[in-house]
Symmetry: C2
Subunit: 193 residues, 2 copies
C-alpha cells in the first residue's frame, strides 16, 4: 500500500512538471507515465482517467503552493512588504532555474479551460481565491506596520494574482524575468499610493 | 485566384476563432477546416502546414487588433484616458458576447509556447511590443492633457499588457468580467499617482 501511494505521488508530480511546461491538452498519459517511470499500462491502477489525475495534481500543486506562500508571507524576520518581495524573488529564481519553460500550473490550466473538464473551473477558481486570501493577510500586516496606504487588501490581492499570472505567461513567452519585475514594481507602487 | 484568397481568409478567421477559444494544441486541422466550411483534404492548397496557418492567423489577428486599438486610442472625441476606458469597455463587451469562452489569441498562444513551433516566440513577442507602443502613445497623450502623473509611458504600457493578459485569462476561467474591471481600475489608479 505504501508503495502504491509512493508511485501515485510520483505520477502526480510528474504530471505537475509536464503540464506546467506544456499544458493539459498537449500531454498524453503515456508521457506522464514515462516521466514518472511507470509503464503506461499500469496507469489505471492509480487513476481512473486523465481527468482524475488532473484533479489530483491541481490539488497537490495548490497545497504545495499554499505552503510556499505561508513560508514567505509568515516569515517574521522580514517586514510584510519585504516578504512579498522575497516571494517575487523566489518565483523569479524558480522560473530561471527551469529556463523559463515552466509557468504556473493553475494559470496554464485556467488558460486552457475551454477544453478542460468543466469540473476543473471551480477547482481552479478556488485555488486563486485561496492564494488571494493568504496574500490579503500579508497586505493587512503591511498596512498595520505602516508600510502601505491601501486598505482594500482583498481588492489589492485580487489585482496581484490577476496580473501576476499575466506576468508569468509573458516571462515564459519571452524567456526572461523582466515581465515579473515590471509587474511587481508596478504593483508595489500602487500599494504605496 | 480571388476565390482562393477568400477561402484562405475564411480558414484564417476560422482558425482565429477556434484557437482563441481552445488553444493550438487541442485543435486539429480538421476542426478548423470544418469551421471554415472547406473539406479537410483541400487544406493543403491553402497552407503548407498547421504551423504555416498558425503564423498567418497570428499576423491576421495582430493586424486586426492593432486597427482596433487605433480606433479607440486615436478617437479625438474622447480624452486620452477615456479612450483607454472605452477600449476596456469594448473588450469586456466582446468577451461577454462570446460567453467569456474566447480570450486573446496572442495570450493563449503565449501560454502554450512550450509546445508551439519555436518561430512563434518572436512573432508573439513582437505583437505585444506593437500593442504596447500604441498604448504608450495614448498614455503620452493623457499626460500631455494633464490626465495622468506617470511619465514613463513605455513602462506603464508594458505593465498594462502584462496584467491585462492575466485579466483576460481569469475572466475566461471565471466566466465573468470582474477580473477585467479589477485590473483596469487598479491600473488607472497607478497612472494617477
Amino acid at each position: 500500500m505504501r508503495l502504491h501511494r509512493a508511485t501515485r505521488d510520483r505520477l502526480v508530480w510528474a504530471g505537475v512538471a509536464t503540464l506546467t511546461e506544456k499544458g493539459f491538452s498537449a500531454v498524453g498519459l503515456e508521457e506522464i507515465a514515462q516521466a514518472a517511470g511507470i509503464p503506461k499500462g499500469s496507469f489505471h491502477s492509480y487513476f481512473e482517467s486523465k481527468e482524475a489525475l488532473g484533479r489530483a495534481l491541481i490539488e497537490a500543486y495548490a497545497d504545495y503552493f499554499a505552503r510556499k506562500l505561508d513560508r514567505w508571507f509568515e516569515d517574521d524576520s522580514h517586514t510584510p512588504l519585504a516578504r512579498l518581495d522575497a516571494f517575487v524573488a523566489d518565483a523569479k529564481a524558480g522560473m530561471a532555474r527551469h529556463g523559463f519553460r515552466r509557468g504556473c500550473l493553475v494559470g496554464n490550466l485556467g488558460q486552457e479551460m475551454g477544453t478542460l473538464p468543466e469540473g476543473y473551473r471551480d477547482l481552479l477558481s478556488r485555488v486563486f481565491a485561496d492564494w488571494q486570501a493568504r496574500t490579503a493577510r500579508c497586505l493587512a500586516a503591511a498596512h498595520a506596520a505602516g508600510e502601505i496606504a491601501t486598505q482594500d487588501f482583498e481588492d489589492a490581492a485580487a489585482f496581484f494574482w490577476i496580473g501576476w499570472e499575466g506576468a508569468v505567461l509573458r516571462a515564459k513567452l519571452e524567456r526572461r524575468a523582466d515581465p515579473l519585475d515590471t509587474f511587481a514594481r508596478g504593483f508595489l507602487a500602487t500599494l504605496r499610493r
